[in-house]
Symmetry: C2
Subunit: 273 residues, 2 copies
């Protein structure tokens, strides 16, 4: 039965107070440690965009994080910047107390269920065994922090990913995992940023340790997911000047690319770049 | 002699009218056809950020284009959003008449001249013959439009790039070129967005024709360029739902990664995705 609203849908809901002003409740259920997942926060903001703009699919979304929002009340201000026949543009600010925690520039459009990315080069899904041959996660992070988000997502790592979690970093800055909602709901198209941001930092497998706060996350959605299990892959190519870049991809079980993302994050002070 | 200000430096200058409000003159010299290059416009906006924020290097910059700005006067409004010890955050809007043409969210920081990206995986410079074995561009675009920007940049294509310009698309959505300022000035670090945006769309070599307007361009700078010639590479992996994604990289002659970029652009209506 999939008639009820999913937990993810409920926890990303927004309530319109007046045009352009929304109220949301940031749930503790999508935290890693005490910090709400950045992709979960972006999903809340995207719900506000969907309510304020005439289109529903996030074609390109740039999210700049200024601070770490807290569980609890938040307000989201949305400015409609431009509405065209193909795209609608907007800006949103997530505010707690009087502090702006993050700001998003977005272009929403329409992705038809039949739209599938045409391969014009360089694009194959990463090699991955099926979910039942992959490694499930535990209920806490490898360093022992509670991770409520793991109650709500099933995560199955590639057997050769996340060596660092077992004390044996692989030396390759890449994480691959199948992910799906634990309550059996199909993935809605605002789930993508959460999936991409919930994976461990790929640089843990090259010896970086500690928290890697996101400065900016850009998500480009390319298709609507059509299977429950989604293959998520994150890699890091370069670390420099105190920051790392991570590149993510989401594919469905039919081998269709659903989304790409790129983020800039701060290296922990103890790490060498 | 490199004592004078470069043409690029002069043409990207901004004048502060009051704190947070700048005036700029968009020059016809950096146009392709009648349209100012998007990377040139972003460089102007970055000059305003440099004047308004305490740091000079664009660590991550998200530029959303709403329309095509015209040559001539423009105003740039800059909001300082957050100043920290590592990064300063700001937003800028480029306005002509009363029309907002583009909006930028940025994090500026400090990249030391000695900072060089550490390779953590997947990162080699693209294969490329030296500049004198590459193919110079003509003064107009292959479809005959005047291209003033080509007077100010020397561009040397990889011999196997831009087959479409000679009527023989290569079938590979990739363009590689060496580029440097024609007046002999060393590249300043705001030149990068221009270089990345001035290359022809990589999808021309897989049969797409026509103008490919940029919706959003994100640039991540990783090092300061230390050589005049810079190797710029742009590839496209996927086209879907009427948009293409392009990925760019800039390397210097010493094999250091200077910057990466990713953009979303609209496919011409006549093209199949």
């Amino acid at each position: 039965m999939r008639a009820e609203r999913s937990r993810f849908d409920l926890d990303t809901g927004v309530e319109m107070r007046e045009p352009g002003l929304f109220r949301a409740e940031i749930s503790p259920e999508w935290c890693i440690g005490a910090a709400p997942n950045g992709g979960y926060l972006l999903a809340i903001v995207l719900r506000a965009f969907q309510a304020a703009l005439p289109y529903r699919d996030p074609i390109t979304v740039s999210c700049h994080f200024f601070a770490v929002p807290k569980v609890g009340n938040a307000e989201i201000e949305v400015d409609v910047l431009r509405v065209g026949r193909t795209l609608a543009r907007g800006e949103a600010r997530l505010i707690q107390g009087s502090v702006e925690q993050l700001r998003v520039l977005a272009a929403l459009g329409t992705i038809e269920p039949t739209d599938a990315p045409a391969l014009v080069g360089f694009g194959d899904p990463p090699a991955m065994p099926p979910p039942d041959e992959c490694v499930p996660t535990g209920a806490t992070t490898p360093d022992g922090r509670p991770s409520p988000v793991r109650q709500h997502l099933e995560i199955r790592y590639h057997p050769e990913s996340v060596g660092w979690a077992h004390g044996a970093p692989t030396g390759i800055a890449e994480v691959r995992a199948w992910m799906r909602l634990a309550d059996g709901s199909p993935p809605d198209n605002l789930l993508i940023p959460l999936l991409l941001d919930v994976l461990p930092a790929s640089v843990y497998d090259v010896g970086v340790t500690g928290w890697v706060p996101t400065v900016e996350l850009t998500v480009h959605q390319r298709a609507r997911p059509s299977t429950d299990w989604l293959l998520c892959s994150v890699t890091c190519r370069f670390a420099a000047a105190g920051v790392i870049e991570e590149n993510g991809e989401v594919w469905d079980e039919e081998g269709r690319l659903i989304a790409t993302c790129r983020q800039i994050a701060l290296l922990p002070k103890s790490s060498k770049s």
